[in-house]
């Protein structure tokens, strides 16, 4: 039973690490746009036909 003196702080530390990762992700603006990334994922990338790149302008 004395194990809880170690186990509980360790559990809290693991939880704290996950929380730190979450805060990093939030500060990295990963929760800013929740609509685009799921759409981006379906564009399995097919290589574009080889064409000379053009400068800008039109």
């Amino acid at each position: 039973m004395e194990l809880v003196y170690v186990a509980l702080p360790v559990a809290l530390l693991v939880g704290g690490a996950a929380l730190a990762a979450f805060i990093w992700a939030a500060k990295d603006d990963q929760f800013e746009d929740l609509d685009t990334p799921p759409k981006r994922a379906i564009f399995d990338d097919v290589a574009l036909k080889d064409r000379p790149k053009q400068g800008g302008g039109s």
């Binding site: 039973m1 939880g15 939030a26 603006d29 800013e32 981006r40 574009l48 036909k49 400068g55």
Partner: protein, 838 residues
Amino acid sequence: MSKTRTSPEVDSSNEQACAHCGLPVPAVEMRAGDPIQFCCGGCRAVHGALHECGLERYYDLRDRERELEASAEPALVTGRGFEHLDDARFLAGQTSVDAQGVRRAELRIDGLRCGACIWLLEAMPRIVRGVMDVRVDSARGIARVAWDEHVIRLSAVARRFDSLGYQLQPFGDPDAVKRARAANRAWIVRMGVAGAIASNAMAVAFALYGGILAEMDLAFRLFFQWCSVGLAVLAVAWPGRIFLTNAIAALRTRTPHMDVPVAFGLVAAVSAGIIATVQGTGSIYCESAAMLVFLLLVGRYVQYGRQRRAREQVELLLAIVPGVARKVVREGSADAARERIVEVAMDALEPGDVVEIPANEACPADGRLLAESAHFDLSHLTGESQPVRVERGGPVYAGSRVLESPARLEVTVAGEETRAARLLALVREAGERRAPIVELADRVSAWFLPTIFVLSLITIAWWWPTLPADQVMARAVAMLVVTCPCALGLATPLAVVAGIGKGARKGVLVKGGDVLERASRAGTLVLDKTGTVTEGRTRVIRSIGVESALAAAAALEMHSAHPIARAVVDAFGGQAEHLNRKAADVREIPGLGIEGRVGRSLVRVGSMRFMRERSAIVSDEIQAYAAECKVAGLAPLFVAVDGRVEGVAGIGDPIRPDARRTIARLQRAGWRVVLASGDDPVVASGVAKTLGIEARDAHGGLSPEEKLEFVKRAELARPVVMVGDGVNDLAALAAADVGVAVRNGAQASHHVADVCLAARGLRPLERFLSGAHSTMRAIKVNLAVSVAYNAGGAVLAFLGLVNPLVAAILMPLSGLTVLAIALKMPSFELPDAEKEVR
């Protein structure tokens, strides 16, 4: 009249679809013999550009996406130069550059429609040399662009985007965007931290209550208690601090605020926990405090997200007025003056300056016209669907678009004082004045902690004389746990989020729970005519007459750019081509009609007055038909061949086929339906009559300011739901209790409105109203269930029938019940009658 043909409705089923956007191709744009057709020049240009770049895959992706979002919009290619993006001040202020000369900027992007657009834009670096990276944020319409300064200028990048139908624009106030993003980040962190602490506190509490049941040693119990207290202190001091600071501010200013009882409850719960733990006796209820912080923050965040969107999108409104103006500068002496055009920022304009406006662009300021005369599109400002002709010296307003040819303007009013800017100020004001609705969850939970404290005190006081102390405390603990406000706190946000999610899947985008709450009761429904009730396009609705005469009319009208002429060409242009009719000696008589030679006959097309003045013979049949048209709210257009009227076309903006029945159903549901239109009052009342709207509720010729006043009128039954899609409706949309915009309308209207409908027409509107109603019902059921659960739990705990462990296991069940109700409740369904018809 052997070949007389009556067409009740112009058949549109055999129209060809545009190869780019899928909309029907109008007759004028038809190119004979071409297997692929386009609805407009924009679509043609974009289609060409896509093929040239090898990006045909866009269409595959788009078709897949379109199954999800059924919306089609023609592409817009402005052909602008975008030189203002190369402005040194803009580059210095809003972009950053690294050592390799790669510049990065965050820009607003217009023209996004679906996921395929994201793919297309993000494929740009592979097509355009010098563009290093493009990332699109489709939710906010933001593109992050990185480009190599040495290879390409930003204006060239923007022109490339424009050629594909997307327009880049700098933000009006980039700092405000950054501030809003930082605030959002703070909210997410707060919510995440609160959630993590609450779940850990719950885990510790499980151990604690389980231990009490198993008669755990006091040492272990104290250890768990200290952990629990520590977590609760953390929850209240870190993410929950916002409640404390809000409460202190409210106390200082002596304004009542929901956060005051919340803060009191949190502090009381935590201090009681500390005291109990220090003394080593009694029970603690710290996990309730941690959970409450989390649940309240979830509710607040939902509310905050809506406000943020509303605020940041008001910024986008400024896009009605261009950011740059082309100023005409005179150099040299008075007699040998040379002119030069310089691009200046809009803010730099002053009264007296002369500016040139390129064709199809918006005026940067209010002013007087210097050209002989020009046509202006005022639809953004006033909702007038027809172009307006302005004579030399006549007033022109910022935001109106000059049509066909460039024009010069002497600026009279610039900057914040223009009519468009004052309109925007009204929008902001109206948006701010709207009373904030306190989330129902807040209102309930604010009184929650005090209530359960009192209940536990009663439990203790009641049983103290008759039961041993530890049993009394066990009952008190059970009371606290079983009444944990999980379900109560989640009831409203869950129902709202589930409702908003269901709506979004059915093409109804609702920006917040308070919107659903406000729209759930029947009140006044204010409809804008153009585009909402009608299709928003002048068309020939019905016609009678000799086929060859109508074809001749089309041949004649091909020479005119008037919207009525376009409608005639749309309807009969095919026949004119088929019969090979060509017009010559065409003369347009302003306000009356058009005349010219087609073949060997003299053909006149125009109003009754035109026919009378040219003494054309009008038969009784024609007269009767014209009268019929007028009754139906259509303007009759006569076609005379060699002095004899041989055809009539009823011209109008066709009413949507679903409008009448939908309005009748809404009226039965208790809504007072009102028509408020910027169009001609006679037309408005004609449309109202067709739709079954009472004559006193039909208002035409309203300016944007009048529309705003109208919506704010006190005698209208609340809530006032305003539906509109023009920029002229913006202020009214913002001021109404619920503003509903229709997609495909003006971009800015989506941002101000509380609700966006993915499709035009009234059926989606009906879907929204029924969704609001059923979501409110889900909220009420949820609240009732959770209150009943808590009340029942409290009684059981009071009687000692619930031990702390069972209570701690049962407690989340109430949350799950509430979740199940929120998800399973049918919502945003169309009324049954409609389904049968379909």
